[in-house]
Symmetry: C2
Subunit: 383 residues, 2 copies
Amino acid sequence: MPDTIPADSVGLVSPTTLHVDSPITLESGRSLPSYDLIYETYGELNANASNAVLICHALSGDHHAAGFHSMEEQKPGWWDTAIGPGKAVDTNQLFVVCLNNLGGCKGSTGPTSINPETGKEYGPDFPIVTVLDWVHSQVVLADHLNIKQWAAVVGGSLGGMQAMQWAISYPDRLRHVLIIAAAPKLSAQNIAFNEVARTAIKSDPDFHDGYYTEHQTIPRQGLGLARMLGHITYLSDEAMGEKFGRELRNDAINYGYDVEFQIESYLRYQSSSFVERFDANTYLLMTKALDYFDPAKEFNDDLAATVANIKARSLVISFTSDWRFSPARSHEIVDALLSAGKEVTYAEIEAHQGHDAFLMSIPRYIDIVKTYMQRVAIECKTS
Amino acid sequence: MPDTIPADSVGLVSPTTLHVDSPITLESGRSLPSYDLIYETYGELNANASNAVLICHALSGDHHAAGFHSMEEQKPGWWDTAIGPGKAVDTNQLFVVCLNNLGGCKGSTGPTSINPETGKEYGPDFPIVTVLDWVHSQVVLADHLNIKQWAAVVGGSLGGMQAMQWAISYPDRLRHVLIIAAAPKLSAQNIAFNEVARTAIKSDPDFHDGYYTEHQTIPRQGLGLARMLGHITYLSDEAMGEKFGRELRNDAINYGYDVEFQIESYLRYQSSSFVERFDANTYLLMTKALDYFDPAKEFNDDLAATVANIKARSLVISFTSDWRFSPARSHEIVDALLSAGKEVTYAEIEAHQGHDAFLMSIPRYIDIVKTYMQRVAIECKTS
């Protein structure tokens, strides 16, 4: 908890909820009659609404990207390292918007919300939402905020996929797109890891086919396993080695099946804290959104054709030790943009932290985002 | 099933069980009063017992390394591609021995065996067995077979660790060691994957703290999850991509939580077939043996000092796309052997199959093993 709010923090913030009272039809063909989107904003929208930046969150993220909800809050928002006055995404110059995605569990309508048609929680009956559906719902939020064109749409990992989808689907509604630690679609291995996570959740007897709330329980074991596995894929072998090595939890080997090495203890802790703050049906939904993301499938698997209509200029960033979405996956995006004659800046950051590097305070990474966003901010004053 | 036995097969084989009626004390300090070791042999031991080769199996392997148990058997032994008359490990010249390791579930004493002291299955009370314990028990088998010195000890993955341990612990009892797709110890990431697998098994309600047999059940979900996860780590991203890509199981996307992509269907099939043929407590034990393997820990983490007493000449092999035990891990072994002034041959095989490559018929790989083993066989005639 912060004793005092740091000077470069956006400070105390509170979210706003937009209730959308018109239906949204999803890619699956199903629709929601109405829905809530919870969001936060930092900085001030300028007079001609040209300085707005949308931050898209990843799998387990939410709308709380920067600042503190209270003086008691332990940690600031999830990308506080990059968002604030004078920071890379400078809230003295930019109006930053971050929302919890549809299907989430932090305030936007999702599996834990009440279905107005039944008066009961949606649970597993909540429709599957795709990256394109998210972008459509984010357009509704942009319209509500009178933002005709984002100065930039920014995201890492699954958030980078949303940013990319924005540039493809709404070419006139953003001037810049920042696609960080992402991929143009999941590989078979990526899908395989997601499937193991889903199987873990669904095979937990406390899952009850997704109706666990009705049974006054949550599938702790399954969701915990999914999170443990996720954690392995978020970190590099090297980062895990540096952090834990083969250090024993106790002084001597026990030759038993309890926790022996520090890494085991860390994973157990991570999983047990996660299950208290995240919803299992939402986790399933988010992994499905990842699996389904494949904008090139509408273009005969031709990624260059897929990005042909993009008008935004791009910054693509990858991290050397990221094996979830490796630099090679970013190269696919960059190559497609170049083939299509687009303006693209690409940075491959030396980092040993693995996929999680995109959330971290790595000087070269943050400097590149800052330099790029500074140019975006200057443009805002003239556009 | 073979219509006819191929000419280069060792043919129909049957295992032999050695009952050892003297106790073995394990690294954990616990002991077994007596135990069985089931093994197969192929080829003939020569007059001076100089042509014997020990094949050590990996996590889910067993004593059935080559040939067929019957004309009805669907597949030959697990390394039939390399063992047989005229093959890389030439049974016309060499006497090949392969056993199911202590703690296994295919005939050697392990968790599914009856504890003579209680008259009940050992189950989770079976002591944890380490790589060094395996080597000790393999020495007992060697003595029984009157093999004073192996021409070679050969193994891949966890089998390679046993081969390495033989060379370290019994320098006079082998002339050559083949360490394939192995590592001198597990990384934090390797341990983390094992811990997720173990957690999956132990949190299955059908596990019953390991006493699932008494409850007439098996922890299918947990063991299946462990196997699914294992499979991901055995294959490279590229191999999975080539085999499955993002192919849908059905023609169209369902936008549901059932199997959508071929890779999901493959993993489910693999896991459901595995649970019928492998014991969960044994799986736990094998992963622990992997975790604990770290021969250098007795030598102040100095691997060169660890291998200083080795007398065997070594062939170390790695595979480019193996990310479970990457070539870098084999380099550690090679560097240590070189630092210690040992004779070592190293081959890094271009292969896209990932860790599983060590079991496959990759021409360059099999050729290298064959050339090396040919030299071993020639030496046998003069030693």
